[in-house]
């Protein structure tokens, strides 16, 4: 692969990532891919598509950015797990933990 080794800071060391940290990771990605959206009032338990103007290409962007920035793979069968911030955190937490080991 020849991938550069990620340089983890203390805060982003995947082993130490809390579920809230992971929600912020997803929000930061959404801020990049949907820059017109106001993310201040996003409800973590509500489907992202029900409160933001996001389409299927945007969710593919989220998957891509998790891959590029965090080395996290989300198989197509698991895309439904990215429906809300809460479900993202539940689904991604063990993946971030595994990255740190």
């Amino acid at each position: 692969m020849g991938l550069p080794d990620p340089v983890w800071t203390f805060e982003t060391n995947p082993e130490n990532m809390t579920k809230d940290d992971i929600k912020q990771v997803v929000l930061d990605i959404i801020a990049d891919i949907a820059p017109d959206e106001d993310l201040a009032a996003v409800k973590p338990e509500v489907r992202l598509r029900d409160q933001l103007s996001l389409d299927s290409m945007d969710f593919l962007d989220i998957v891509m950015e998790l891959r590029k920035k965090h080395g996290i793979e989300v198989p197509e069968a698991d895309y439904v797990q990215l429906a809300s911030l809460d479900s993202c955190a539940e689904y991604l937490h063990p993946k971030f933990e595994a990255k740190g080991k």
Binding site: G2, L3, P35, M57, M64
Partner: protein
């Protein structure tokens, strides 16, 4: 073409390296103000290039800009500005009867180069290749982005015509209006070429990339020491309508499309053929029902290559004999070669001449090449003339595509 509907220009939007409106662009052409930047070209270092500074967020959401292409943003800006200029009541326009026809020299090189660079940062693993690549690189992309932004549901496509594309877009639109396929057309040419290193490298290795210590002097058609093309981005999109429709809504008529011709050299991929160019201009004149003497401005294509400029001058010298009222100019000397947008922008810069009777010059001529010393060539300073009734706009491209478009002042027989 008397039996076919007459076609008129009723709106115009543009972005050029030296202006984001016709007024600004025209003022700089008459003031002799070139605007060429020096940019970092991937893999190639610094080169002169014409860069546009329009505000894309004026008409697009930031997500549209992010997901789309640079040329899509150029197209949307120009089309929206053209709509405003046309005075059309957009809410009342039947969007299914609107067409978008945009000329392009090339499309997709920018986005493909970007992705090749992107995956090179990830070991060339194609799983990092963006899913936006295909919608960004389909050849209809710029025109399609316009339809999505403006809610246009009529036909849209691009016309690939190398550097003759700006004229070709307008000609396509005029034909579709005459056929009754649409009632309103957004047409012209667009380019994002400065964002691809390939076009710079191609011209450089062909010995045709312009350079000068002062970037604003790098593009100097007809000068003896010219050394090639300055690559630029830009766009010019016109609103075209049938004359009867324009009159019925009380539109301001900017100009009338009088005649055109597109033909092919069928000789060489890069070296233009003056015989075919001559035939192209003569056929456009014939279709417009005009003589060479009827043309008051010839807007040349000349790109500042050693051979291309001479070939066009040979063609013009053949057609425009004994034409004391015909003035000849060049806009690339100000803004470089805007590729797919070139023909459309160069026509735009001349349109105000119908009413102000000024002819902008070709600038950057320190020593006129004797082989380019055409009678009527307006050199370095604008000239005031008694009248401008018709403009011939030349636009030629690789693979031997020639286009000549004649527009005339509305109301002139």
């Amino acid at each position: 073409m008397s039996s076919k509907p007459r076609i008129v220009i009723t709106g115009l939007g543009l972005t050029a390296p030296n202006g984001n409106s016709l007024g600004e662009f025209r003022a700089n052409l008459l003031a002799g103000k070139a605007r060429i930047a020096v940019i970092d070209v991937r893999h190639m270092g610094r080169h002169p290039a014409g860069v546009c500074d329009f505000d894309a967020t004026k008409w697009q959401k930031r997500k549209e800009i992010r997901n789309g292409t640079r040329v899509g943003s150029i197209s949307i800006f120009c089309a929206r500005e053209a709509l405003g200029d046309s005075g059309l009541d957009w809410d009342k326009v039947d969007k299914s009867r609107v067409g978008v026809y945009l000329g392009i020299t090339e499309h997709g090189n920018v986005e493909t180069e970007n992705e090749i660079h992107n995956i090179s940062q990830f070991g060339n693993d194609t799983k990092y290749w963006t899913h936006h690549h295909n919608p960004r690189t389909v050849a209809n992309n710029p025109a399609g982005e316009v339809t999505m932004n403006m809610g246009i549901t009529g036909p849209h496509y691009t016309i690939g015509a190398a550097c003759a594309a700006g004229n070709a877009g307008l000609i396509q639109a005029a034909q579709m209006l005459q056929l009754g396929e649409v009632d309103v057309a957004f047409a012209g040419g667009v380019s994002e070429s400065i964002h691809t290193f390939g076009i710079f490298a191609g011209f450089k290795n062909q010995g045709a990339l312009g350079a000068h210590e002062d970037p604003t002097k790098a593009s100097r058609p007809f000068d003896k020491n010219r050394n090639g093309i300055v690559i630029s981005e830009g766009g010019a999109i016109y609103v075209l309508e049938r004359l009867d429709d324009a009159l019925a809504r009380g539109a301001r008529i900017i100009a009338e499309i009088a005649g055109w011709c597109i033909n092919s050299d069928a000789t060489d991929a890069v070296l233009p053929n003056p015989e075919r160019q001559t035939e192209c201009v003569r056929m456009a004149l014939q279709r417009a029902g005009m003589k060479p003497q009827d043309i008051h401005i010839v807007s040349t294509h000349a790109t500042a290559t050693a051979l291309g400029d001479v070939q066009e001058c040979t063609a013009l010298r053949t057609v425009f004999t004994d034409c004391p009222e015909t003035r000849i100019n060049n806009t690339k000397s100000f803004i470089g070669h805007c590729m797919g947008a070139a023909g459309a922008l160069e026509l735009a810069g001349n349109l105000p001449s119908f009413h102000d009777h000024w002819v902008h010059p070709t600038i950057n001529i320190d020593e006129l090449d004797p082989e380019c010393a055409l009678p009527g060539l307006v050199i370095n300073q604008p000239v005031k003339v008694d009248r401008v009734d018709a403009i011939l706009n030349n636009s030629f491209g690789m693979l031997g595509i020639n286009s000549a478009l004649i527009v005339k002042k509305y109301g002139v027989a």
